[in-house]
Symmetry: C2
């Protein structure tokens, strides 16, 4: 029976029961973390052979003869550009290889356009007083952090099971001070959905009032399938080519969740015009990023097929974890009518909506019981979830046993917070 159908008495009885259960789990003294999309030690082990794959002089030479131990090659060695181009479905000439973090490349891209025009004839964004950025919600808190840092007004755009609601986006881009939109188009963080073909086509067909409107196309989970037949996503550059919008998308990816987070290789892809502006920054910013690490990655994977094989090993570690989360939510919460969640086919998160007005309280209760979750509201710009309902669960890091315990805690807390509210 759903809580909404409980009588007052039944609710108060339930409150008492849940308070007891909560005290019991608190007494267990757990210390579990489901706050961020962090690979588990079992996943990190998969890439250990990469660590000593280079060890003698001959191993350090790129295919074009570049000594990767030395200076040079601003946009990356050819074989790494090829690998990352294949990952993004673009040509190597569209690719720039960065350091260890695609977030860093995204920050630097926004920073670049703050100081220099993204499009000839437009002012740099730093000189646009009321600059705005579209933020599909729920979304990735670190994206919102970047545009927040640069003082953009962030406009939340609702998401449905197909991606951002395009009627809303098409309306908003009529404002010339709207300079771009954050997108995680595949296995979106946190909702796990992949943009439908229609959504990608409507994005590509946008006619923004701002000539310098840019899509921050963060393809962070492009080959991060949990199942055999993963989602497929239309190629944004191909679609934008058709609509004459080739300068709109800038794509980002990295191997952070493929090899080692923090010691991976990041890359971006963009049109010739965009690359001109972006490389004119990089040529002053760096002599070139870590070519030895690029080479390690290429030697380890061989090519994109090798990388795809490697991702199956990650899936084998991750899938049982995701199953625990969705199974527990189904078994222990669904009957009460207080939870809505997705069954992601890839990515790193399960996005859970608990009863409106209780997300903060659920996170607080979990913390009290030793289970650390992403802060409620983190998936909204400035941490402001208008319904106080969305919680992002990151199941990758804990062991299966710990995850099982953590989800029990979560379910008790979600029920307790709901009943507290209904009896208040």
């Amino acid at each position: 029976m759903q809580y909404k159908d409980y009588s007052k008495e039944q609710l108060f009885e339930e409150l008492g029961t849940l308070k007891n259960s909560f005290e019991e789990i608190k007494a267990m003294g757990l210390k579990l973390n489901m706050a961020r999309g962090v690979p588990s030690p079992d996943q990190l082990k998969l890439s250990l052979p990469m660590l000593d794959i280079l060890y003698r002089e001959a191993d350090c030479t790129a295919e074009d003869g570049t000594d990767c131990r030395n200076y040079g090659v601003m946009d990356g060695i050819p074989e790494c550009k090829r690998l990352m181009a294949d990952l993004m479905g673009v040509t190597p000439d569209m690719v720039m290889i960065g350091g260890n973090s695609s977030l860093n490349m995204m920050f630097d891209t926004i920073s670049c356009f703050m100081n220099k025009p993204a499009e000839p004839g437009t002012p740099p964004w730093g000189l646009v007083p009321e600059r705005k950025f579209l933020c599909p919600v729920p979304g990735y808190d670190r994206h919102f952090g970047v545009t927040g840092y640069f003082d953009f007004e962030m406009i939340p755009v609702p998401m449905d099971e197909n991606g951002p609601v395009m009627d809303v986006v098409e309306e908003l881009v009529k404002d010339p001070s709207v300079k771009g939109m954050w997108c995680v188009p595949k296995y979106s963080n946190p909702s796990g959905i992949t943009y439908s073909d229609e959504v990608v086509r409507r994005i590509a067909a946008l006619k923004p009032a701002a000539k310098d409107f840019r899509l921050m196309w963060d393809n962070a989970y492009c080959i991060h399938d949990l199942v055999e037949d993963g989602d497929s996503l239309l190629n944004i550059f191909e679609e934008c080519e058709k609509t004459g919008n080739i300068d709109m998308p800038i794509e980002f990816c990295s191997t952070s969740k493929i090899t080692f987070p923090g010691s991976g290789v990041a890359a971006m892809a963009a049109s010739e015009n965009n690359m001109k502006v972006i490389k004119n920054k990089y040529k002053y910013q760096t002599i070139g990023y870590d070519k030895l690490n690029m080479l390690r990655h290429v030697r380890f994977f061989g090519d994109i097929d090798g990388m795809k094989e490697h991702m199956k090993k990650h899936a084998a570690v991750l899938k049982p974890r995701f199953d625990i989360v969705t199974d527990k939510l189904g078994e222990k919460l669904e009957d009460y009518g207080i939870v809505w969640y997705n069954h992601p086919r890839g990515g790193y998160f399960v996005s859970v909506n608990v009863m409106d007005g209780t997300a903060k309280r659920v996170v607080e209760l979990c913390k009290e019981a030793g289970v650390n979750l992403t802060g409620a509201g983190a998936t909204y710009p400035l941490g402001n979830d208008p319904y106080d309902s969305n919680i992002r669960i990151a199941p990758s890091f804990p062991s299966l046993e710990d995850l099982d315990k953590a989800m029990d805690v979560f379910c008790i807390c979600a029920r307790l917070a709901a009943v507290e509210k209904l009896t208040a």
Copy 2:
């Protein structure tokens, strides 16, 4: 006899002889590069054991238990902060570890202050229309590239054998739109000189009109001695502490010329106030830089003493190269009175002044004869050497044999350009 004492006839005879010599060296078909301060393969070999120093899970754990393969630790692992702090002569809490490039950290620092106030209550530099930066000359072209990119007017400040001429600096900082100064205080690029104690003290005692005046203290060659008893440099933070100017200096260094250029570790040090502004940027820009590479460095060196020992091996490779350059200049040019050069005790360059008005021509002639030098004027902001006299020679990369040939070419070209000018 000096060229200035030659008769017209003697000069024309010399011109003929030199033209013949030039054709002879051209016929040799050389392809040599002395353009940039790039370590030679012999130097890169010294750090090869670092490549496979991490190879199993246990090797990836930092002293505080951090798994360096995973996300986290924005400002660097403790043992790496300690190592780089010792390198700069500061405490670890003043240090932030970056990616593979101190140039990148310098660019990011200027970029940060372009968008956010360096000092509370001042406008970000991007909003200062006539912003200026002091550039001791000759200096490092990539420094000037950064402030040029951000549209600073770059004011050249003359250098003498003690550093920037401080009478000039003290006058210039009375202008509130002067926001900072580039400094390579030890084995300066390219002049090789180390700032004298008096110069460092006068820098520390500056009273700039701009409250947000910042020293970009690029200590790139802090332990890069060529001789046993290297130069010593006063500690800028200690001096600035005494004068109440602790927020003025921001120090940078890297292991690019200690281990692998492009795959080293960069670091910066600054006061608490500066770090607050800078880390408030980094916290949105990155989750943290490459901790595995930090760990490789610490494991390889142990501590600062290990790093110093390692630098002796570099010196053993480099010193003979520097000797060839200065010996050749002495033997083959000094008599003609057309060359002034330094005898650096460390760093990566020999700064040569050829006869006024001939530097561009010398570089051009060398190029024609197959010897690639740094572009003439590169050591001045916007490439503008008012005397067309300074040439930066980078002797590190070529083999001893090649360097010997390259310097013969250089000396012929310097003489030819001088005599061409005197007979024009």
